[in-house]
């Protein structure tokens, strides 16, 4: 390992590190180079106590799929859930239930995390309300059965819609999400849900208008 001995202190002074400020990647690079330096200083060839170390084969990170794989989001739903059908609006819940789950999914959170849900779909082709709307009084987004605020984001495709909801800080564990319709309008509803994902609200993975 060829390393460069770099003193990281000038870049890590407190005056440059305000609270909540992200740690810069080059600060870690400096730390890594410093560790690499000590590694070579303290040992000959291999790390202490590491006589069984196997040497990496020649490899290319740019080809093949055996290298690092990225972590999944805490929720990904890619089914197909329709309200109504082509030419037929939905007007009643199944089995005379008091509400219809238009969509439902699970969310697995590993630690308290500020999260954003994106739920997207297309307009239906039947009569009635052909996309989810805040004007539908019976439409609620629920997390663990508790209604939570949600809104809509504009899309490039006029036939598509997307619901975005800040879920806030979600505690670790398994949670359920659901889009629920408890009251049907007289002429029914018709839309399709194609997918949903939840991502961290931090690190600018999802940017929302204020």
């Amino acid at each position: 390992m060829a390393t460069v001995v770099v003193d990281p202190r000038p870049e890590q002074q407190a005056s440059n590190a305000a609270p909540q400020q992200a740690v810069r990647a080059d600060a870690f690079l400096l730390a890594w180079q410093t560790i690499g330096s000590s590694y070579e200083t303290l040992t000959t060839g291999i790390a202490p106590g590491n006589g069984a170390r196997t040497v990496a084969q020649v490899h290319d990170h740019s080809t093949g799929g055996k290298g690092a794989y990225l972590a999944q989001p805490p929720c990904r739903w890619q089914g197909f859930a329709t309200m109504g059908d082509q030419g037929i609006a939905a007007t009643a819940s199944p089995f005379a239930l008091t509400a219809t789950f238009c969509w439902a999914s699970m969310l697995q959170v590993y630690t308290d995390h500020s999260l954003v849900l994106v739920l997207y779909g297309n307009d239906g082709e039947a009569n009635g309300v052909n996309r989810p709307s805040l004007d539908l009084p019976g439409l609620t987004l629920e997390i663990d059965g508790i209604s939570t605020p949600f809104g809509f984001e504009p899309t490039q495709d006029g036939k598509a819609w997307s619901i975005v909801a800040r879920l806030g800080v979600v505690p670790a564990g398994l949670h359920t999400l659901a889009l629920k319709l408890s009251t049907y309008p007289p002429n029914g509803v018709a839309w399709q849900i194609y997918g949903a994902e939840v991502w961290s609200e931090a690190n600018e993975q999802v940017r929302l208008d204020p």
């Binding site: 870690f28 069984a52 490899h59 290298g67 690092a68 309200m83 005379a96 590993y110």
Partner: protein, 221 residues
């Protein structure tokens, strides 16, 4: 994280600084440095357990101890999902004959076992010192909706088959509505390998009960 008896102190330039770091930067930096040190010296596995025998760092994709490669094992991120095709609203009688495209499909009604989800999941690799390429302990969660109060709390039977190994679990609540059913665990190294594996989710209920599957996920334990 644990510390190896063989581990040396961090080099002096990082220990003392002209000015103190903020707690936020210091804490996260130290954690990352500690991890990097363990990877460098291979003195601990991905879970921070000190290793009896040092392991190599081979970049072979299964023990490639980078933060992204091992994120699922480290953080219990889900590593696979499955979702069905459902006509959410249909009030017609359940139709188990053509569950994937019939407008009233998707509901199990006692006449047949349905398989609403087939998916590919990524079984995380077990951390050292387990065998290279073996799967870590894996758990599945299945979200079901009950269309009416069940005849018994455990009436819904969910079978999840990963890599040909089926495990079964039952519902726990009779009331109508959503419920998550935990299936598993598949023990570490109980499957043929870690990595991409087929998952099939099946549901069956006694005659007179109605339930359907909305979602499934798997995660390391």
């Amino acid at each position: 994280m644990t510390f190896s008896a063989n581990r040396h102190d961090l080099p002096s330039p990082l220990v003392s600084a002209d000015q103190p770091l903020s707690g936020d930067v210091m804490g996260r930096s130290f954690e990352a440095i500690e991890y990097l040190w363990q990877v460098t010296t291979n003195s601990a596995d991905a879970r921070g357990t000190a290793l009896a025998a040092a392991q190599g760092h081979t970049h072979d994709g299964v023990r490639d101890q980078t933060l992204t490669a091992d994120a699922q094992v480290l953080l219990n991120y889900p590593s696979g999902f499955g979702a069905p095709y459902l006509r959410a609203d249909s009030s017609a009688a359940p139709d188990p004959v053509a569950p994937h495209y019939a407008p009233n499909g998707g509901w199990a009604d006692g006449t047949a076992t349905l398989a609403p989800i087939r998916s590919i999941i990524h079984a995380p690799f077990a951390p050292a010192p387990a065998g290279i390429g073996s799967n870590a302990t894996l758990r599945s969660q299945v979200l079901i909706e009950k269309g009416a109060t069940l005849s018994a709390a455990n009436a819904v039977t969910i079978t999840v088959t990963i890599d040909g190994v089926p495990l079964v679990a039952n519902s726990a609540v009779a009331a109508a509505g959503l419920e998550t059913v935990q299936v598993g665990d598949w023990a570490a190294a109980s499957l043929t390998k870690g990595g991409p594996l087929e998952m099939i989710v099946q549901i069956s209920v006694p005659s007179g009960d109605y339930a359907r599957v909305w979602h499934s996920l798997v995660l390391p334990v």
